[in-house]
Amino acid sequence: MKSLRRFFAQLAGLATRRAQDERLREEIEEHIALQTAENIRAGLSPA
């Protein structure tokens, strides 16, 4: 019973970590897109 509870806790932890990783990935992607747009507005040519 104890090991089953631990298994479900680990599974929930894994799902949370994955969701956080995905959110972080999306946020950094947007951060870089905004930074790039600002650089282009500042006169730099797109790479």
Binding site: Q20, D21, R23, L24, R25, E26, E27, I28, E29, E30, H31, I32, A33, L34, Q35, T36, A37, N39, L44, A47
Partner: protein, 162 residues
């Protein structure tokens, strides 16, 4: 642009420390090649002004204060505003900022929801919570006290202590 690409490639192939897991930031750089190249290009393109990294432990306070003054902002907006308020002396990089935002949210000091950025893309917008406001007040008092103590040390002369 062959040069930045070449530089970026060399970053990706740098050996990792033995038996150590890559940090989340390194992981992103290693796995998200196209973003890392963009990141490198944007770093190279910024004016060559010397910027200082945010002092450890102070970024959370800056985030809370920025959100208190300016209301809801996305991560990029927070970073830019902190840099602007510092008179462009500080540099806030995303590798430092987002873990702090996540920590503050887990502590309940800030809340967030998805919205649309200036690019019309999905971005996470952060706002100060009531708990965050209380935390900000407490931390502000702490920093003011620390700052006053340090100021006394800078001003002290031998004759003051005799």
């Amino acid at each position: 642009m062959p040069l930045p690409h070449a530089i970026a490639r060399s970053i990706f192939t740098l050996p990792q420390p033995r038996r150590k897991r890559a940090s989340p930031n390194t992981y992103l750089l290693l796995s998200q090649r196209k973003y890392a190249i963009l990141l490198l290009v944007s770093k190279m393109a910024t004016p060559m002004k010397q910027k200082t990294d945010v002092l450890q432990g102070t970024l959370a306070l800056m985030v809370l204060k920025t959100l208190e003054v300016l209301g809801s902002l996305h991560g990029y907006g927070i970073a830019r505003r902190i840099e602007q308020i510092s008179g462009d002396v500080l540099a806030v990089n995303q590798g430092t900022l987002y873990p702090v935002l996540l920590k503050l949210e887990q502590e309940g000091a800030i809340g967030s929801e998805w919205g649309a950025s200036e690019n019309n893309r999905r971005a996470r917008f952060y706002r100060l919570t009531r708990q965050g406001r209380k935390q900000l007040q407490a931390e502000t008092q702490g920093w003011e006290q620390t700052s006053a103590i340090i100021a006394r040390f800078f001003e002290v002369k031998a004759e003051d202590l005799s």
